[in-house]
């Protein structure tokens, strides 16, 4: 099997495309180029290993769901459900992305050059050294980081098609009880969900942020120093386990 193959996905049903991808991965292919992708769902779902998948076009719903390891790069926009319950690997979207990106993500990273939709990074979680990361270069819709239990979201608000909109939507981080959201620039207080605080970054935050911004800058040929030149705030829960007593008293 070749180290690199090209699959012309133009008009190909999603099942056939995903069978082809799985066969290529099973045969040890290192790089898979998908051309003419338009709406095929489930690309890279539950694929393991460090294969690279380059996508030309607009992939369909649930890109990279459950996957553990692959590097996916999309030259174009992505639709809804990118990285659903993703377990590892990297997704880079050179464009904008839709709703529910990174839902219940457990590890790996998703970098989006531009804007994202609603409910991004909801239910993200982390465990020990498994810390999922989402970096968004543009702006986000409502419910960013809702019910977040762990991981990192970085929102830059720079590469955006919505210059007049606030950097994030309403109900920002509602129900959040772990993890952190770093946001570049001002965040109107009324957008925050209940029980959350906006704080300046400490040294540890600064180091983490610099690392994630560098990854974003490298992926899209941007200047990390320029991005980091502005002020950032972090969104975090005010207390440890704020919902611990919501249903059953534990202390």
């Amino acid at each position: 099997m070749a180290d690199r193959i090209i699959i012309d996905a133009d008009g190909m049903p999603y099942r056939e495309l995903n069978v082809r991808i799985r066969e290529a991965v099973a045969a040890g292919t290192q790089v898979i180029d998908l051309h003419g992708v338009r709406g095929q769902r489930f690309i890279g779902n539950a694929v393991e290993g460090d294969v690279s998948i380059n996508i030309l076009g607009v992939p369909g719903q649930d890109l990279g769901a459950f996957m553990r390891g692959p590097h996916i790069r999309v030259q174009g926009n992505a639709q809804d459900g990118v990285g659903n319950t993703m377990d590892g690997g990297h997704i880079v979207i050179d464009g904008m992305a839709g709703d529910v990106l990174g839902y219940a993500m457990r590890d790996g990273s998703i970098l989006v050059r531009g804007d994202v939709g609603y409910r991004v990074g909801i239910h993200m979680k982390s465990y020990l050294d498994r810390v999922p990361v989402i970096v968004v270069g543009g702006k986000a819709g409502d419910f960013l980081g809702e019910y977040m239990a762990g991981g990192v979201i970085v929102l830059l608000g720079m590469d955006t098609g919505k210059p007049e909109a606030p950097v994030a939507g309403r109900s920002l981080g509602t129900g959040m009880h772990g993890g952190v959201i770093y946001i570049r620039g001002e965040v109107p207080e009324h957008l925050l969900g209940p029980g959350l605080a906006l704080s300046p970054l400490d040294e540890e935050d600064g180091a983490a942020l610099a690392r994630h911004v560098q990854a974003y800058a490298d992926a899209f040929g941007k200047d990390a120093a320029e991005i980091l030149g502005a002020s950032f705030v972090k969104v975090h829960p005010r207390s440890h386990r704020p919902y611990g007593n919501m249903y059953v008293g534990t202390n």
């Binding site: 076009g57 919505k162 009324h190």
Partner: protein, 364 residues
């Protein structure tokens, strides 16, 4: 619920309705193949229990007549409808809607179209405006003539819908042979109500046509409110209320589409509280007067009439909607891939904010 025994080969039906619309602001004609190809890309969003299209500018030679599309269970049902309508209207022309036999479209109803003008001397409803007269006739057929339904009643436009995937319904109605300056299309995945011919989208009244992805939890309240204003819901699908609410608010009460969208998807009360006083009063009044027309539940809708197209999401965006522009054309769709299918190179693509309509008006 336990997983089925043969779960390992169980294919879950992962669908969720799909909508697509395209409008050319300068009224250049777009072939039916464009919305058909776009819907093919979103084939998997439906399950074959409903597909439909609305097309504007397809009857230029009879542009002054009301084009009634009627489906009948049998010839007798159509005849009952025809006899009734002939009493109210001059029938300028009547013919079967041209169809093809399509293997996957099973047991279609009989479909006919009538080009009608209200009689100069009306037998009833003399006090009504002409549009209300037409609405009265549509309501009468749909509620009181067994086995017959009017599924399109506008001027120089028509809807085509039925049980099947959209591409099959398009094939059945030979939509590849039509050209229109504005199209909407729908792929159905019925959730709460039966997949039957009248219940497919678009839903129409006069020149209104609505396609919808989502479900309208406030259907009961909306329906009772409409009933007070002589609109009767008969098609067993929640989306029907959107067509009638728009007719009531925009045509009869004179609200703009922007105002109607604030009724459908109002700002949250905490947002209203932060508004300047005049604005706060206006939004409070709008909610007080039209509370029963609020659409609760998830929706992405495309609304069309003779003036243009509007796309609107519910206020927390529980359904997808993407808008794109290319020269004089604007596209609105559940998925960007369907737009790219029919137009690879776009000037601009964006996802509108929840509750904020995208309104495109036709020029001249």
């Amino acid at each position: 619920m336990k997983a089925p025994k043969d779960f390992w080969k169980f294919d879950k039906d992962i669908a969720g309705c799909g909508v697509f619309g395209v409008i050319d602001r300068k009224r250049n004609l777009i072939p039916g193949t464009m919305p058909i190809d776009a819907m093919c890309t979103m084939h998997d969003r439906g399950n074959g229990l409903g597909g439909g299209f609305a097309a504007y500018g397809i009857y230029p030679d009879r542009a002054d007549d009301y084009a009634f599309h009627i489906m009948g269970d049998d010839a007798a049902a159509l005849e009952r409808a025809e006899t009734y309508l002939a009493g109210l209207f001059d029938v300028h022309h009547a013919e079967p809607i041209p169809t093809r036999d399509v293997l996957t479209v099973k047991n279609p109803p009989l479909v006919r179209r009538y080009f009608l003008a209200p009689k100069a001397v009306r037998p009833q409803w003399q006090h009504m405006g002409e549009s209300d007269y037409v609405v009265g006739a549509v309501m009468h057929v749909n509620t009181r003539i067994p086995g017959a339904f009017v599924f399109s009643s506008g001027k120089n436009m028509g809807t085509f819908k039925g049980v099947g995937y959209p591409e099959d319904i398009a094939d059945f109605f030979r939509l590849d042979e039509y050209r229109a300056y504005m199209w909407t299309a729908h792929n159905r995945f019925p959730t709460n109500t039966p997949g039957w011919w009248g219940g497919a989208h678009p839903f129409t009244l006069l020149d209104w046509a609505i396609v919808h992805n989502g479900e309208i939890s406030s259907y009961g309240i909306n329906r009772r409110y409409l009933c007070e204003h002589d609109y009767e819901c008969t098609l067993m699908t929640d989306t029907e209320v959107v067509a009638y609410l728009l007719d009531l608010m925009v045509r009869k009460h004179g609200l703009s589409k922007r105002m109607a969208s604030w009724v459908f998807a109002p700002p949250f009360w905490d947002e209203v509280d932060r508004m300047p006083e005049e604005q706060r009063k206006a939004f409070t009044a709008l909610r007080a007067v039209y509370g029963a027309a609020l659409l609760n539940g998830p929706f992405a809708i495309l609304v069309t009439d003779s003036r243009g197209m509007m796309g609107l999401n519910d206020r927390v965006k529980l359904r997808p909607l993407v808008v794109a522009e290319k020269d004089t054309m604007t596209f609105m769709s559940s998925e960007e891939s369907s737009i790219r299918e029919v137009c690879r190179d776009l000037d601009r693509v964006w996802a509108p904010k929840a509750g904020e309509p995208v309104i495109v008006e036709l020029e001249a």
